[in-house]
């Protein structure tokens, strides 16, 4: 499972770059990107729009989006002093202050972190700017990150982890302090990232392997199958593998035949169906 971290600031990214030994890549001209294993990282810049652009840019070029988890990790403010400075939270609800829209990740892993809701604002805020009824975390990126990520991924693939850096009292937080907050939580964050590996094995349930998919694709191109016929063929092949427990190599012989019109194509498709499904 590929994991991608998206931070707003370079100071938030620096501890990850060092911890995972990530290398700068020229994937995008204007969005700093660092690649490596088991994670890659992208520095989006500040604000929900930038976060959305970076997230969408990365995910749009993913070849296997079902095999990706994205993490928005960074510092945030808190409206309440019931939490501790430096405390790491798993965000379970993101509210966009501007639109009022809410986003919910699917938290399907077990973890020991405290959880919180978070509200994303368009600009820096202090306690004085606040809706009185809201109690929770505050940032400037998460709603943009969620809006973009959920366009490409399922809610269980979208994760937001935030570290409390201030209580919205207007204090200035320097880069070293930001990096320090991330460093102090690195072990816990790495634990969360690692726990998503379990999902990978869970998802690997397709009875057809890459070679078999390749053979089916060849047959599809060879017989010029329509999109829906191709998917039908894949389902028949799965049924054959599950029920008859045979090898799909029996289909390879059909690559020697050629078709010149729809009627011939449909005849061959029927032969394949019969071979795979008939008792």
């Amino acid at each position: 499972m590929r994991k991608i971290i998206i931070t707003a600031l370079h100071a938030e990214a620096k501890p990850f770059i060092e911890f995972f030994n990530l290398k700068k890549s020229n994937l995008f001209a204007k969005i700093p990107f660092y690649s490596g294993e088991p994670v890659s990282l992208c520095v989006s810049g500040i604000g929900k729009m930038r976060s959305a652009i970076a997230t969408a840019s990365l995910l749009a070029q993913e070849k296997e989006p079902h095999n990706v988890v994205v993490f928005n990790i960074g510092i945030c403010g808190s409206t309440t002093k019931e939490v501790n400075l430096g405390e790491l939270f798993f965000v379970n609800k993101v509210i966009d202050h501007g639109s009022g829209r809410s986003y919910y990740p699917d938290i399907v892993i077990e973890h020991n972190l405290p959880e919180s809701q978070l509200m994303t604002f368009d600009k820096p805020v202090t306690q004085l700017d606040f809706p009185q009824e809201y109690k929770g975390l505050v940032d400037m990126e998460a709603s943009g990150f969620f809006e973009a990520a959920l366009t490409f991924l399922s809610p269980h693939q979208v994760v937001c982890l935030k570290i409390v850096s201030d209580f919205l009292e207007g204090e200035v937080i320097n880069k070293a302090k930001v990096s320090g907050l991330v460093e102090r939580n690195m072990e816990a964050i790495n634990g969360i990232i690692s726990s998503y590996d379990a999902l990978c094995s869970f998802l690997a349930t397709d009875v057809l392997d890459a070679n078999e998919h390749s053979l089916l694709e060849q047959l599809s191109m060879h017989f010029r199958l329509t999109f829906s016929q191709y998917h039908q063929l894949i389902e028949w092949a799965r049924s054959y593998k599950i029920h008859k427990k045979g090898s799909l190599e029996i289909l390879r012989q059909y690559l020697q035949y050629s078709v010149s019109d729809k009627r011939e194509r449909n005849n061959y498709l029927e032969k394949l169906r019969s071979l795979l499904l008939d008792e």
Binding site: N92, Y104, E115, H156, F202, S239, H243
Partner: protein, 334 residues
């Protein structure tokens, strides 16, 4: 139900006693406040099977739609005033053949807490039912398994008590649960049918994940029969597994060896069938179950086994069942 890691609560749902009871029952669950249950339940691209690893509970207030007319896929057992309601969405079990995987966008469970609104709508529907000579027949464990959730919220018990006090109402509680003890304290009433879905031991073990074993279900059924309840046995869905004929006839013999035949209210028999769109969605999410990748036949918007297979299965199993139960008390779904 041992735990929920998260409970999502509609703001409006908080004022209901059932919500309070549930939040007390799961004090360690993380609470997330939501405006409307569809914000969570209706999200796009949710992965049903991954969510089944860690099901969340959503407490909601249902706004209208307290009863629905029975659909063509369901079984009204000849009752003309056939309705169902949806007190909960989704089920604690995870059966391979379950249509809910394709019907709902989410595996999370929604519990509607405004029970009194359901009762009120039911009273009204009973009074206004079209065919006055027949009771209003209401399936209350539809698209869920109410009895399996009884330890969390005793909806089955509430509905049995409600039905017992409501003339011209007959309710069906369909279940795979063995949790009969949760309603054992109630007096059996002719206004309730307890309907147990039964499958051969091997089918239950392999394809009915999380559900009680055949033995536990049979024990619960026998106890309910002994206490005077009307019990329906549902051999549905019958799956065309290897040696299906032998497996299912053997299983039926076992069931009727264990249960007093004379106390069976009625029986339903049906082969696997599903809405074609639901099956398509399910197949996208899971490619591991042989029963979902059977070479089905499509009839209109329904998929099932090819006609010859269906006829063969029904004919054979009906013959077996009629050795125990008169044919007029067997509802068949081919």
């Amino acid at each position: 139900m041992s735990k929920f890691s998260h409970i999502y609560i509609e703001d409006e749902a908080l004022g209901y006693p059932i919500s309070t009871r549930i939040l007390e029952r799961f004090p360690n669950a993380k609470r997330v406040w939501i405006g409307d249950y569809k914000e969570v339940f209706g999200r796009l691209n949710q992965h049903f099977q991954i969510q089944k690893r860690s099901v969340k509970l959503i407490l909601a207030v249902k706004k209208g739609g307290y009863l629905y007319r029975g659909s063509d896929f369901s079984q009204g057992f000849g009752y003309k005033n056939f309705y169902y309601n949806t007190l909960m969405l989704n089920c604690v079990y995870n059966c391979d053949y379950c249509y809910l995987q394709g019907m709902y966008p989410s595996a999370n469970m929604v519990l509607f807490v405004n029970l009194e609104d359901f009762f009120e709508a039911t009273r009204k529907a009973v009074a206004e039912r079209k065919y006055k000579s027949e009771p209003l027949y209401l399936s209350v464990s539809y698209n869920t398994d109410l009895l399996a959730f009884e330890s969390v919220v005793p909806y089955t018990a509430y509905w049995i008590e409600f039905a017992d006090a409501c003339d011209d109402l007959l309710i069906e509680v369909r279940t795979k649960s063995a949790n009969y003890k949760a309603i054992k304290h109630l007096k059996a009433t002719p206004r309730v049918i307890l309907a147990w879905t039964l499958s051969p031991r091997k089918v239950a073990e392999v394809y009915e994940k999380g559900a009680p074993s055949l033995d536990r279900r049979l024990e619960a059924i026998r106890e309910a029969m002994e206490d005077g309840w009307q019990v329906r046995l549902c051999f549905d869905p019958v799956l065309r597994i290897r040696n299906w004929n032998y497996v299912y006839t053997d299983f039926m013999e076992e069931v009727f060896r264990y249960l007093p035949v004379e106390k069976v209210y009625d029986v339903s028999l049906g082969v696997f069938r599903m809405n074609a769109d639901y099956l398509r969605r399910i197949r996208k999410l899971r490619q591991d179950s042989d029963i979902l990748f059977y070479p089905f036949e499509v009839r209109g918007d329904t998929v099932s086994y090819p006609l010859l297979h269906r006829k063969e299965m029904i004919s054979s199993l009906l013959e077996k069942l009629t050795q125990y139960i008169p044919e007029e008390r067997i509802a068949v779904w081919e």
